[in-house]
Subunit: 75 residues, 6 copies
């Protein structure tokens, strides 16, 4: 599964942001299914400035799509 | 072949996400047709934090296009 | 919390820009919750040219979404 | 020449994808006109994981523009 | 202050481009407020090929937002 | 000057692509005004795979804006 609930629609921007983070993580999981390897790499992400910034950029791109899908939760 | 079924339209966001991953992979394949080399590089992707994050970013960009093509599967 | 006030709507472009910076920072915080580690990494960001430029790029992407959400504050 | 046929319009998504790859390559060619140097660099691209992923990201961005130009080939 | 004049609207594309460069620079300034450090890092940007290219990419993203805000100055 | 002719509108996609390359180059020029330094860095760009790919990515982003400004030259 790549998208929880199978939908880009969320009730709030906050939930949209959480979905962006989840979607970004699930691509990593699909590319590297081995939990032990992912766990080791997470230690790298979380302690390396450039890797953390790269996480941030990917979440920003995923969120742009989710926000557009939700009409930016304007109403 | 760069796009399976020759269409950006999918029934669900989940399938759109799978298509994004496939499209990203097929560009790599077209640029490096040698399966043995790709297999060796896949070991690099799957075990390197920055490479995995880069995969994630490309999938996010491909998915943005697919999601727009599908009107974000709103209905 | 990933989005302060739970909304992408801001009164001005200036506030939108601040929100973009905050949203970018909160992804980092969610990925690395340990304040001591983040503090150490902030020293890296703030003194490394490529890291600072990467921060700038992520803020630009977050801001694009916020600006679209606000109809670019045209009126 | 930077865009073959001088148009972003293609009959199919598949042709749009091919155009994206061609447009990405022609920028490289315009920046480095020396065929011998490009040939040497192609060996680098095709055998380096990060370079291949970077190719993939650029193709994704070019394709986003082409897909929008073609109304995502919806009809 | 992150956006001079507090607006994304400019009279011309040229001014929009200048605004994009200023906005990109002000994010750096907000992230690293120490002028002496920034001055040292500017020497890095201006003499390193990858850093200069990264500056160019961020300005391109900022400009995309500003151009959309101004309806691409079409009239 | 950051945008030749002060406009994003071009007669053809081909000219739009040329404009994208010029706009990308003029940001570099504005950031590093010293012609001798730029000339040295150009040697780096043109002979380094990752730098060339980075040039390609920036041109793709600039072109996306120019193409949208021109309604993708559809008619």
């Amino acid at each position: 599964m790549m998208i929880p609930n199978g939908s880009l629609i969320t009730a709030t921007p906050e939930e949209g942001r959480q979905l962006a983070m989840t979607m970004a993580r699930l691509v990593i999981k699909a590319t590297q299914p081995d939990e032990a390897v992912r766990s080791r790499l997470r230690d790298v992400y979380a302690n390396d400035a450039m890797a953390l910034l790269q996480v941030g950029q990917t979440v920003a791109i995923e969120f742009a799509t989710i926000a557009a899908a939700n009409g930016y939760w304007r109403t």
